[in-house]
Subunit: 249 residues, 2 copies
């Protein structure tokens, strides 16, 4: 299957500059396909400024454009395009930024671009997503950590990979807090989605997918959850191509 | 408006026995209305045992029944009732347990009991909910912390109060983690739901609602969020009746 994906757990590690850690990976990835221009999807970024959601997208575009310009790429945001479907169909590559996954998915459905982006990427155009943007590459948004601040018409997502990513995966909850840990939440997910595989992608890590090959990159291991099996850890050295062969549940 | 509600942030504080801290409040609340029997809603409890979701409800019922029996109340779970609507209509009081809010709301809609519970409680029957069970007392489930493990037909909830509760409210995220803090998530919510008030209810705290009076109980303060205003803290001594007068946004 043709697919060129960079699925990034988080834009920014605590205490670092915006998009600092994945910058080199992004540059190498896009350069390997001689990409020059990028269509940016800002719809997860609802409150970079409180004035209005539309203004927040402007600020988000500026912030991301600054970095991609430094890296040598042209970037335009879909929220400025009068014909969004046309913008997708003509895009050289698609980059989906993080923020609130519910808002992102709601707008992707509302503007009818979910299928168009799916077709574009499975046609071979490179795709980058971080945080919420990595979540929407999955079959559904059911493993997001975000608050359901709005109600999407459907939880269905791009399905560029057949498993679910849990971005920002973390092991422990805050000390003295009795709310569910991330692992408990994922176990709840598995109980009602028994055929689905979940990849807990820790901060500072990403997946590089090249057709039927998947590689983990970053400094931490990956935690894989499947119903009825104990969680398993994988490092960057191990073959993870099986993740692209699991059924979508 | 007739309503008798006990809306509890969390069943259990870290390191304590199940339902230990709110036990006295539950007993006093139900005794004040001479309640003898309880209809329990277990649908948030999806994975108390991995065997099956139905079996998980059995275990959940047992766990909660043990405590309510000790307190002197009869408890039956709705998942054993052949006619769920009839069970709601004939209930003396309704208790909704915590767990996954998406699963709870999905089943409440699937079995068509949302409106029936709403009418029952606004007719004067006492209602207790903890965690997910406190969330469903709100206009929608949009301020839950839970993972969207399944897709409810609607996010609409009971609307027994006109504001949104964020249960298990906590101030800081885990150290070194770059994911959104709870406050950031609530600010995202407010950006797209500007007319709605959110109450961050910390663990070990509850709301006691008696018609148009609302009291905070517990050892921590309450954090109130409204769009365009800074967050405000309220203690148990302060009058919080205004929360019952805010518009539902």
């Amino acid at each position: 299957m043709a697919r060129k994906l960079l699925l990034i757990s988080n834009s920014t590690n605590a205490g670092e500059e915006y998009l600092a850690w994945p910058r080199g990976y992004i540059q190498d990835f896009l350069n390997s396909f001689s990409v020059k221009s990028i269509l940016f999807i800002p719809w997860a970024g609802v409150n970079l400024v409180s004035e209005s959601v539309e203004k927040s997208f402007d600020i988000y575009e500026e912030r991301v454009k600054k970095i991609f310009t430094e890296l040598g790429f042209r970037l335009n945001s879909i929220h400025r395009e009068p014909d969004r479907l046309k913008a997708v169909n003509e895009a050289e590559s698609v980059v989906v930024g993080g923020g609130n996954t519910f808002h992102l998915v709601a707008m992707m459905h509302q503007y009818g671009v979910m299928d168009a982006i799916h077709d574009k990427i499975l046609g071979g155009s490179p795709f980058i997503g971080w945080s919420a943007g990595a979540n929407v590459a999955c079959p559904t948004m059911k493993t997001t950590n975000d608050m359901p601040i709005c109600e999407p018409s459907s939880f269905q997502c791009l399905g560029l990979v057949p498993f679910q990513i849990n971005p920002h995966y973390l092991d422990a909850g805050p000390a003295g807090h009795a709310g569910e840990t991330r692992e408990q939440r994922i176990q709840e997910f598995l109980t009602v989605n028994r055929g689905t595989t979940v990849a807990g992608l820790r901060e500072g890590c990403l997946f590089h997918v090249d057709n039927d090959s998947l590689k983990l990159r970053g400094k931490r291991s990956l935690r894989i959850f499947q119903f009825g099996l104990g969680p398993r850890e994988y490092t960057c050295d191990e073959n993870l191509d099986f993740l692209l062969k699991v059924t979508a549940g």
